[in-house]
Symmetry: C3
């Protein structure tokens, strides 16, 4: 599935080039057709064992394995490496680059405005639209049917996968990856009520995405009403996440798939919003804070705090509450019994 | 709205051809313009009454009705059929096929790689992209602006609606339907932290979708990190569902709209994830298990179990807890009263 | 970011033209390059202070400010207006119109069926598909790669942003705006089980969207099984909302981003579904009712009621329960203590 098609000698070369020491035990001419997990790998595949324990406890038919130390337990050819996972990731990175390589150039069916500025070695696929005064940085890849609005600036070495929509006046930094179908810069949800009707507050702000951000599929990042919705450097945003207007997120924060952040919320750096977590409008979440899975906070969360539940509470407190909830029907029965006894006593007094 | 434009004789023919016995009471030359529900149908429309009770209790102005038995209560023309719903579905299937029929051929604005393999009678719409070495099975329809990545294989009789994105190396079985905008094979959410930065684990696995699977709109099905994300035969996946990397789902499982399944979770066959249900990462849900609406399980669920709540508990236990919660404020007041009395007694002792 | 590029005299003209009285204090020739919030505005930007208190409490470097009354506290040029926010919105509306203006005409790469009917001054962008017998009203804008299915009718002055998909037989009223990537008229989730397999109930109904509706990005609005899914005039639907088949929503109802409405639910007029709120299938929510954030109702909600929680309860009751939950571990300890005492007493009796 994940074509590699390299000899073990070549794989060793890849790992060394990534800066990891590696020794070959076995036949360097052995051909690794592809990669797989230790459990699933077949005779022509390369796998890895992250540590001695995994190596000892997992049956494998892999033809070659990246291991922490050489072992006679395996019939497989071995690449011995102190950090097998890191070494393996270097191989995966090579595969990823190869399979998604796109030739530079503009496809004949793409529509690129004359006033747009397109950097060197850019690849613009079929059906792509780049509007007036947009800027596309060097080596950036715009996959088929993606769209870049007027005056938006996409940095260098970015990738927009098929169907991605970047609306007007949006800025993406360097090395930003956006997965298929995501929309950046759609309007925030802002209305005022006048005489029983909802009147739109035009959303004329923008979105600013920092360097090295990755954004999943079907994400919506709304443009600000005024000013900017900001996503800091190195953030990783999962699939189906919603980020509302005027949200600010610091650097290196993780927003796991299906999480959602309401308008004007501020999330610090190095924070984690787990899957389906929610942050209510205007809430401030501190640096390094963690909002648990499916947990929703309607109040500010201090830096470093870990909160769970809906409404979110400090994790230990929430877990204690949940434990009592399990016993709640019994607890009520006990209380009823006491109430009856108390009533009996009162009668007897 | 749902054009039929057939005589009642023709409709009878359709139902018979689908294998259901049917008798006509009324004028076979009566023209059914379209279909509607019994409540909404007008004089030129065909409706159905699923049983005697519905027939008896519903006012209708339908011109023709599929009924379980002939009745003088209705002025309408009648098609008498032991299973009116099944017979009506046969008519709906005909309408559905007609209104969505697409001529075979490749639209002049589609971009199909030379190395792609395209089966007989395939329909490829405007703005479609089919990349190198992709395979499209016979009679499959790729609607406008859909995308099939390199080396992906789409079976025969599949339908990709407008804007669907199938990334590289993905496999779809036979008769798979994917609704508009859905993305299959985008990257899983996988990073390791190194020196305060999140480093991507390339997601070089794939997605394998079985025969007869239907997938709604705006769904994200992530490719595996290694190996494959697997969705078994006959599964039905609703809109806005998220299926993370390395998830495995058995056969004939229902994943209702807005449900989400985190990484490496394993769902059995014949299971049901109700609307907005969640399954945490690595969790195993057994065959035939049911996760209730908006319920989230962080633990394995045995085969056949029905769990509700967040965190999910056995349904009866959860319902009991919710009932006590309704009385919780009163319960606390009662407890306080007892505490005061107990304190009074202690004083008096 | 939000280019204005007008003199203060011109801005005054815009505000007056929108029907608001306004007086200039300062230099009418001052050039406002763009707009920003009071906090962020720079020397060449126009901002607004919604009231005296904001004006008094906010530091600003804005070059010009729309204010409720003239003040010597600001060095900025001032436009004095009784309702500064309304006046400012008039300016925003002008910016919004300018930056998104599209020239009338059909792009050479668009594919418009011969039998489609296209009104005057329509703008059809690159890669757009308009199918047979579709109707596009006057001045409507179809952005690149959007799709209008067979026989669908889009009213006048509508906007479909990039990648929007409107399936067949769907009706949109006048002045409907749909943001990028949204799909309207995909199939509802409807199956019957026959011999252990899920058999599809063809979804041959339609979707009817009223005038002045706005719909966010990545929304899914399913077509009805029979009849129609209906969204009333003036409703505002946020990003990533799911509206299932045969749902009916009244007029001027707010459905905030990530809310979801299951099949056959009926929502009244002037209601509010807050962020991530859920309505279960078949449930009736009355006019003016409010479902709180992340709250899910499985039962009918009376008109005007405000419900919170999952399952949703009247707001005050839910808040009381949540307050007791915070004390639940202590409450259990107190109960245990009483139980021990009661047991001691029994022993002593």
């Amino acid at each position: 599935m994940s074509r590699l098609d390299k000899t073990l000698d070549d794989v060793r070369g890849l790992i060394e080039a990534a800066g990891f020491p590696v020794a070959l035990h076995g036949d360097g001419a052995f051909r690794c057709r592809s990669v797989a997990s230790l459990e699933r790998a077949g005779a022509d595949q390369l796998a890895f064992a992250k540590d001695e324990r995994t190596l000892g406890s997992t049956e494998t038919r892999a033809g070659a394995v990246v291991v922490p130390s050489a072992t006679s337990r395996l019939a497989a050819h071995q690449l011995v490496c102190p950090d097998p996972f890191a070494a393996f990731v270097a191989v995966l990175r090579h595969i990823d680059r190869e399979r998604r390589a796109e030739a530079a150039g503009v496809h004949s069916t793409a529509v690129v405005a004359e006033s747009a500025s397109v950097g060197a070695d850019v690849s613009i696929g079929a059906g792509v639209t780049v509007r007036d005064e947009a800027e596309i940085g060097e080596r950036t890849v715009l996959h088929p049917n993606s769209y870049v609005g007027r005056r938006s600036r996409i940095g260098s070495d970015c990738v927009l996968f098929p169907g991605v929509v970047v609306m007007e006046d949006v800025t993406l930094g360097e090395r930003v990856t956006v997965h298929g179908g995501t929309v950046i810069g759609c309007d925030g949800y802002g209305y005022i009520q006048r005489e029983g009707r909802h009147v739109k507050i035009p959303q004329v702000g923008t979105v600013e995405i920092g360097d090295d951000v990755e954004i999943g599929s079907q994400v919506t990042i709304d443009r600000a009403a005024l000013d900017a919705t900001v996503i800091g450097r190195g953030c990783k945003i999962g699939d189906l996440v919603h980020i509302a207007h005027n949200v600010t997120i610091g650097e290196q924060t993780l927003v796991v798939p299906t999480a959602r952040i309401a308008g004007r919320a501020t999330i610090g750096s190095g924070a984690v919003l787990a899957g389906a977590a929610g942050v209510a409008d205007g809430v401030v979440v501190g640096d390094g804070a963690v909002i648990g899975g499916s947990s929703v906070t309607y109040r500010d969360v201090p830096a470093g705090a870990v909160v769970y539940g809906d409404p979110a509470r400090p994790k230990t407190h929430q877990l204690r509450i949940e434990a009592v909830l399990n016993r709640l029907p019994q607890l009520e029965r006990d209380l009823r019994r006491l109430l009856r006894r108390s009533a009996d006593r009162d009668e007897n007094d």
